[in-house]
């Protein structure tokens, strides 16, 4: 069962149109909330006048910051005390800091009416000049603080000495633009506070319901057990969905105030203004290099455009950028300084492969620069700098997401060799060279990366079998539509020898299990998968112990297969799990000295992450007339340790690759000089469609299982994305014959045309150059 491409168990409702996404859920008597948002990037908020809105039919009320008694939204991840002043208030009080910032709310009996009324709320805002560039010197944020929320410094080894001694120093500045997850389902929330009972039910939770319960309960001053978060179907997460945003707090607050359910459904325009942006980093990076291409040190300084506030992720992105930047290479000395700067744009958070997409782009462009300055092939530079298998586990004296950075396993050169053979890279390059000779601008680029996955510290699973033999697996970890239920089902079915159809996976409901971390950082298969295995093993022990009483045999002589316990070698003795469940009534269990119910809990805890790795290869063509970059093929080789379901791993990788491609060629949040967002619809924020999506070939290997969990698995959620920007950049260079031409993502057609022109100039003025 494990390792098989089992068809997904969660498909049916999604195909029939009976899925329950947040917007599909309604409660009797619900009111509809609409957020009034700041139309200006930066200004002093002098007044909010809701009188006109209040006079509209169906309007229940208008509220602004002065009516709220709520603190700012707290941090969930890696936080430094110095970042506290930059937390986002639920509603802007004195100052607005980005277009789209919530300033007031309108509640009405109908969503159309709420929206109409929100348009009539008058805001008195005195505009201030906006800050729009993270490279600009820090400006004033408030009376006590400037706009540099964090200067994160880290590293190890003697960087100064390495540079002083190096025969070559290679330096460059690269930029990754502002883009983000943009799931097809917008966000939504429905809060149901019951006066009298004092309970709050929240529908539309995702990703980290248990952690969000603590945050929300804390903000509202309610005991966490009275707050129940319920995850419904989730139309894509990608890091963006499922954080606590102002709107989540507002529906809860309003429901308690009104004593009735309150629903908020985001529209697309709002989503592009209000949900976390991501990326947007500028790196100035240099390498100290020996004559043979060995890199003795990397020194990186980067600037991250955090947008207007620091949200729930706090310092997760800059610290991950810093710690994961050295990637697969040894790098004996490393120094990194990351400036987290506030601007007047939508706040930023994590997006699939956060910090790694950016850091990998910087590092792999640096490798390409080293290669071109030494006149060697880039792959040769990579191979001579790789951490070798006999150095594993490899500790870099730094930390990542609060864990010691220690790569668990890997054979990077082996993966390169396998990819070259499987994809026929030499012939592919040969064919491209022939096309180039005929005048086509085509090229191939590669980039190698290390991912991280399976972040701890824990995940829990409870398995219970009812009197019919049906099995429920309960976990607090959420599903984002990635096939999680299937993977968990496979692991349990294998261990208990039962059919997948008898299993249901329940997830993301905070009243069903006490502890959970959630669905992020490619951790689910590693953490919840391992916990499932451990729980299933415990359940098997319990079934054997009970069956031993029923059969008057020794548990040692029993075996569990096909959903029944038998005396080994005696096929006629079978007792089904259903019968065992029935027998484990409290009275009988007590007589047997067993705990009642055929139920078992499993925990997986860990202090370390796992580190999968991969090679991305892109083949592109640049249209000489329009400058459009067309991705012809993407190839991904990825070592996942062990694939529980290769079909789902492949789906994750293809989807991730498309998002990596989007960030490299299409997706960008642009702002005009006055700070107004220019990309607020799908007409301006371009997602990859079928037209841009090339064939993606995936090679999944299992050469380096993780020693850190009982399944040997590593995560697969982000490995399609990580190095795609770097690979596409290298491919464009190759197509145009400009070494290190691409220093900025996304590559718009104008940029490609400029590069092509530069290449022509170069070849006419300096024959044989470059």
């Amino acid at each position: 069962m494990i390792g098989k491409p089992l068809r997904r168990v969660e498909d049916l409702p999604l195909l029939l149109g009976t899925g329950r996404f947040a917007a599909d859920i309604s409660l009797p008597g619900q009111a509809h909330l609409r957020v009034v948002r700041s139309p200006v990037p930066h200004g002093m908020l002098r007044g909010v006048d809701g009188r006109k809105a209040l006079s509209m039919p169906g309007v229940i009320g208008v509220w602004s910051a002065a009516d709220l008694d709520l603190g700012p939204i707290g941090f969930r991840m890696v936080a430094f005390p110095g970042m506290l002043p930059y937390r986002q208030p639920v509603l802007a009080a004195e100052r607005v800091r980005y277009v789209g910032e919530p300033v007031a709310i309108v509640l009405a009996d109908d969503p159309y009416r709420a929206e109409d009324a929100a348009d009539l709320v008058e805001l008195d805002i005195e505009s201030l000049p906006p800050v729009l560039d993270q490279l600009q010197e820090p400006a004033q944020f408030d009376d006590q603080n400037d706009t540099e929320a964090l200067l994160h410094e880290d590293g190890y080894g003697d960087v100064g000495a390495a540079f002083a001694a190096a025969p070559h120093v290679v330096e460059l500045t690269v930029t990754v633009g502002r883009h983000t997850g943009v799931p097809l389902e917008c966000r939504g929330a429905l809060a149901d506070y019951r006066p009298g009972a004092g309970t709050l039910d929240f529908y539309g939770a995702a990703k980290v319901p248990h952690q969000n319960r603590l945050l929300l309960a804390g903000l509202l001053g309610l005991p966490p057990q009275l707050v129940v978060l319920r995850e419904a179907h989730v139309g894509g997460g990608f890091g963006v969905r499922g954080e606590v945003y102002p709107e989540d707090v507002l529906v809860c607050w309003a429901s308690r105030l009104l004593g009735r359910p309150v629903k908020w459904i985001e529209d697309r325009n709002e989503h592009l203004l209000a949900a976390n942006h991501s990326r947007d980093q500028v790196h100035r990076i240099r390498a100290a290099v020996l004559a043979d291409g060995y890199i003795t040190a990397i020194d990186d300084e980067f600037w991250l455009d955090q947008g207007a506030y620091v949200r729930t992720h706090a310092a997760a992105v800059p610290t991950l950028t810093a710690s994961m930047l050295p990637g697969p290479y040894q790098i004996p000395a490393y120094r990194v300084r990351g400036h987290v700067r506030l601007t007047n744009k939508t706040p930023a958070g994590t997006y699939r492969a956060p910090g790694r997409y950016e850091g990998t782009f910087a590092r792999e462009r640096l490798i390409d620069a080293v290669a071109s300055s030494l006149g060697k092939p880039a792959m040769e530079i990579r191979l001579s700098n790789f951490i070798s298998p006999d150095q594993m586990p490899y500790a870099r004296p730094m930390s990542a997401l609060g864990t010691d950075l220690e790569y668990d396993s890997g054979d990077y050169a082996l993966l390169v060799g396998k990819a070259q053979a499987r994809f026929g890279l030499a012939e592919l390059e040969h064919g491209l060279a022939a096309r180039r000779a005929l005048g086509e601008a085509v090229g191939m680029g590669c980039a190698f990366f290390v991912e991280k996955s399976g972040l701890g510290p824990y995940e829990a699973v409870r398995i219970s079998v009812d009197q019919s033999g049906h099995i429920d697996i309960i976990t607090g970890a959420g599903s984002m539509g990635q096939g999680f239920e299937t993977v968990i089902t496979q692991i349990c079915a294998q261990e208990l020898g039962v059919r997948p159809e008898t299993i249901r996976v329940l997830h993301g409901q905070t009243d069903q299990i006490e502890h959970a971390m959630g669905a992020f950082a490619s951790r689910l298969t590693v953490m919840a998968g391992s916990a499932t295995l451990i729980a299933a093993q415990a359940l098997r022990e319990k079934a054997l112990a009970a069956a031993a009483r029923m059969l008057e045999a020794s548990p040692r002589d029993l075996e569990l297969s096909d959903g029944a316990v038998r005396v080994a070698g005696d096929p006629d003795t079978g007792i089904s799990l259903a019968q065992i469940s029935e027998a484990l009534r409290p009275d009988q269990a007590a007589r047997w000295g067993l705990e009642p119910s055929l139920t078992a809990d499993g925990w997986h805890t860990t202090d370390h992450m796992c580190y999968p790795y991969g090679l991305h290869i892109a083949v592109v063509r640049v249209d000489a007339g329009t400058g459009q970059v067309i991705a012809e093929r993407l190839l991904v080789a990825y070592d996942v340790g062990r694939a529980v379901n290769p079909m789902l791993v492949e789906g994750q990788i293809v989807g991730g690759a498309a998002q990596g491609l989007g960030g490299a060629l299409l997706e960008e949040f642009r702002y005009d000089d006055a700070g107004h967002p220019q990309c607020t619809t799908f007409m301006d924020y371009l997602l990859p469609t079928r037209a841009e999506m090339p064939p993606v070939d995936v090679l999944i290997t299992e050469d380096a299982p993780s020693p850190r969990n009982p399944l040997g698995v590593k995560g697969a959620g982000e490995g399609g994305t990580t190095a795609m920007g770097a690979a596409i950049a290298a491919a464009i260079d190759a197509a145009l014959g400009v070494p290190l031409g691409v220093k900025e993502l996304p590559v718009h057609p104008e940029a490609a045309l400029r590069l092509a022109k530069a290449a022509r100039r170069e070849s006419t003025s300096e024959p044989g150059g470059a």
Binding site: R7, R8, D11, L14, L15, L16, G17, T18, G19, R20, F21, A23, D24, P111, Y112, V182, P183, L184, E185, C186, H233, V234, G235, G236, F238, D267, R268, M480, G481, Q482, G483, M647, L648, G651, Q652, V654, G655, A657, A658, Q659, T681, F682, M683, L687, P688, T689, R690, A691, M693, P695, V696
Partner: protein, 171 residues
């Protein structure tokens, strides 16, 4: 794809009107304002939440339904203009609990992840075959281009369409 905003019948005012829509073969009377989109009428007034809203601006295809058998974006269609026309939604596709071959092919080819775009993809895909626009990959690419999938299950969606096309052709 039919995506124009239909003109308002001149005689109707802005307040709620009685309308009877024919949805999946059944007459469904309701009272709605003329400005209510077909998508909102289905989802908010008739409890048919299978059609999805990804943008409400005609740019993603998640809301694709059929009006008289032709594809339409329900977010750009005013519900009142559908009176006298047959509207078919994802809920009406699998008659009698049997999966439509396209739905079965979506499972078999792993043609989705989160499933949010899926009802729209399926309504588009089935119509594509009826329209005769699935002869080759280029046609599929062109005629399915209005349906965005952020999970990028595009290659597998194409595989599902091909499978249904080839099975039908082989009969």
């Amino acid at each position: 794809m039919d995506g124009e905003i239909a003109a308002l019948p001149a005689e109707r005012g802005p307040s709620a009107q009685a309308v009877t829509l024919t949805i999946n073969g059944e007459p469904r009377p309701l009272r709605i304002e003329p400005r209510v989109s077909l998508l909102d009428a289905l989802r908010e007034h008739l409890g048919l939440t299978g059609s999805k809203k990804g943008c409400d601006q005609g740019t993603c295809g998640a809301c694709t339904v059929w009006v008289d058998g032709r594809r339409a974006l329900a977010c750009l269609t005013l519900a009142v203009t559908c009176e006298g026309h047959e509207v078919t939604t994802i809920e009406g596709l699998s008659a009698g609990g049997e999966l439509h071959p396209m739905q079965a092919a979506f499972i078999d080819k792993d043609a989705f992840q989160c499933g949010y775009c899926t009802p729209g993809q399926i309504m588009s895909a089935v119509a594509l075959l009826d329209e005769g626009h699935a002869a080759d990959d280029g046609q599929i690419r062109e005629w399915m281009s209005g349906n965005i999938c952020r999970c990028a299950a595009y290659p597998n969606i194409r595989a599902a369409i091909r499978a249904v096309r080839d099975a039908a052709g082989g009969e």
